[in-house]
Symmetry: C2
Subunit: 314 residues, 2 copies
């Protein structure tokens, strides 16, 4: 089997140039990359990264586990992790597992034998189940469990700012529309919103749980309207849009609803709080943390909280 | 290195049971699966699927290439392909590539050396670029190119039914709100909608291109309102929701807007056409077609068009 030295010799470059040309081509001149690729092709340096990782007892693959793919929130996280893994010469395999009680860990066990580690997005499921599943180095996204590494978007602090903003601008009756039951982030946000409302002295009702969709927002609108809030804080943007739709169709002016930047800008809204989670950065950080854990599985777990900006509209 | 026969002997089962326990555990008793997994673990039958595929010149990995992950439409396609590949003992690696003119095929070439084939979702990019990228067995999703296998949701026929429905129910001024420029599906839908409108004798204006988002719908609303349509057919559901929002905020009754089942049901709408693409089936069929091409790369390409149901609301 051809080695990296063979490819370097044929291409007339150093071994580190070969390695870089194959793993981080954007750092080199396109001509250099082409020369190395030609040499690799000629020598049949095919599927070699897998072979090399196998020789070291590794597969060169990391698994990114999400509870569902029917949620556009996970897409940028996958994209960010993908780009980081790509830069490090690893592949990402995307798997779906909800960690719901009763869901078998069998497929998970099989996956574990094929990868070097896990990035786990597991909003639901008990701490014990998630811990039991992590038989290889693992990093949690948007959830913290004692003894495990994690990368979390600090949306709880952002939601606190939103409550304070509403209080400052004279809103007195707030409703928080909760996300999926058992969601770690929803629990964090609910607690943060409750604490902030009490501290600044505004009333707060919590409704839910709801899935993070426009359709669920339309269902939630019935309950929300009965509470006659002057500001609504939905767990997710799509929920808020569904709620507003029902108000508008009924010919009523909806209360102000916190949202995200793209929506606030497109509608030209002023004074509407927009919470902007950068899922790509979250995925990137999670993949970096996983690299560390794969290299040093016995090191201390690392918890990263990324701050989440809030803006106030156009 | 332990073989499947070694595992079978230790577990006291047949080789085919071992194979099934590791690739399709849901077909066996949990106890059997556990016995086989224990035996595999003891013998260090680790990362062996990769090793086995390598021995046959294959990696056991297929790549699913999407233009972006920021579009929830692709999520169920990935999910469906994932489940099918899983059942066949393959891994799926998800990669992002837009095939835009000028975007380098370097990363693509590198990926090609690590996988057995591609499932390509490439709405944009020229036929020549997509063909050039497919250096391994490949199957296109939601696009057809001469000489290549493909799985396509026949939304063009569904959009034709929508135009006919609108004409039958007395709508005379239709607007089609186009999706991303260069999108193969958008071109198919535009042509189908134009042909149907002409055949049934209603007026049709086409606006766009727009990305398939709520925010873009809000932008599109300005143009749409000036055309005073009595029915709107958006390329994507989210576009339609953004358009309706702007009408409603302005205190105007929006025209009827075709949508999808979850929205129509949540809002309790009657007589609103709902177009339901099953992305999971699309992904499943694409993965099956790719299996065929990997087994028989010189066989004739296979084009599958999946019919897309249209319903008329609650």
């Amino acid at each position: 089997m051809a080695t990296i030295a063979d490819v370097a010799r044929l291409a007339g470059v150093s071994k580190s140039t070969v390695s870089r040309a194959l793993s981080r081509p954007e750092m080199l001149l396109p001509e250099t990359v082409a020369t190395v690729q030609d040499a690799a092709e000629k020598l049949g340096y095919v599927a070699n990264s897998a072979a090399r990782f196998l020789a070291g007892g590794r597969t060169g693959v990391i698994a990114l586990v999400v509870p569902t793919l029917d949620n556009s929130f996970f897409a940028p996280i996958i994209g960010g992790a993908q780009a980081r893994a790509d830069a490090e010469g690893r592949q990402v395999t995307v798997a779906v597992h909800s960690f719901a009680a009763g869901e078998s860990l069998t497929t998970f066990g099989r996956l574990a034998r094929q990868v070097d580690g896990f990035i786990i997005v597991a909003p639901g499921g008990s701490d014990d189940i998630v811990r039991a599943a992590a038989t290889k180095p693992a990093v949690l996204v948007d959830r913290e469990i004692e003894g495990m590494s994690s990368a979390v978007a600090d949306t709880a602090s952002a939601f606190t700012l939103v409550v304070e903003h509403f209080a400052r601008t004279g809103r007195r009756r707030l409703v928080y529309v909760g996300g999926p039951g058992n969601s770690w982030q929803d629990a964090q946000r609910t607690a943060a919103v409750r604490a902030a409302a009490e501290r600044v002295g505004v009333s707060l009702e919590v409704v839910g749980p709801f899935p993070p969709t426009f359709a669920a927002g339309a269902e939630a609108a019935r309950q929300v309207r009965e509470l006659r809030p002057d500001a609504v804080i939905p767990y997710a943007t799509a929920l808020g849009l569904g709620i507003q739709h029902v108000y508008l169709v009924a010919g009523e002016t909806p209360p102000v609803v916190s949202s995200e930047r793209a929506i606030v800008e497109a509608l030209g809204l002023a004074g509407v709080p927009a919470i902007d989670v950068d899922g790509r950065v979250l995925g990137d950080v999670a993949a970096r943390l996983l690299s560390q854990r794969i290299q040093d599985p016995s090191g201390d777990p690392n918890r990263v909280r990324l701050s989440v900006p809030v803006t106030w509209g156009a």
